[in-house]
């Protein structure tokens, strides 16, 4: 059973608000990821981290930022939410980037009004 948690599960918020999506894993994985997924569509990598104090942007440009101060914690922040940010955000972790499976959290469904 994968131990990766995301909060909140659902968030409805007004335009211009600052939000932080939380992601934590208890598996001791070095690598963590944030994906953005519109309903029924493919997953787009927006941020990833190789370990503490390491963050990189993914293939899909995003106005969000991330931090990795602790191995188990990889929060994503939007300074000023807009309706175009409405989507599902999935957090994942793995031991390697390409050789081992990724474990996904349950996701946060964000709606910006």
């Amino acid at each position: 059973e994968a131990d990766i948690y995301q909060t909140p599960r659902y968030l409805v918020i007004g335009t211009g608000k600052k939000i932080t999506l939380e992601c934590s894993q208890t598996m001791g994985h070095d690598k963590m990821y944030w994906y953005q997924q519109d309903p029924g569509m493919e997953l787009h990598l927006i941020h990833y981290s190789y370990g503490v104090n390491s963050t990189e942007k993914g293939d899909l440009s995003s106005e969000s930022t991330v931090s990795r101060i602790r191995t188990e914690h990889f929060p994503l922040t939007l300074e000023s939410a807009r309706p175009s940010h409405t989507s599902q955000y999935l957090c994942a972790s793995s031991t390697t980037g390409w050789r081992d499976e990724q474990f996904f959290g349950p996701g946060t469904r964000l709606t910006v009004l």
């Binding site: 569509m41 493919e42 390409w98 050789r99």
Partner: protein, 109 residues
Amino acid sequence: QQPVQSPQAVILREGEDAVINCSSSKALYSVHWYRQKHGEAPVFLMILLKGGEQKGHDKISASFNEKKQQSSLYLTASQLSYSGTYFCGTASAGNMLTFGGGTRLMVKP
């Protein structure tokens, strides 16, 4: 560049077989397969590595043609629980996974 999956959707009766394909224009080091049910997180099915190594579930089989940069996922004797969207993710050397557009599979009684 995003891998291409085919077919985009397939409908099966219980007990029927299906093949889902994934192809890339890049030289690949690994191909991952995940299944996502509606409203849930993707769940790992299988990894195929360059050189022939595979990791995955006993009831799932897949192939990886390194020369053609193609992978196929074989679903045999399908069950209702197989319904969902199947994603392949491909990785080139030193790079993160890039996921395909998904194949929507529906198994009917």
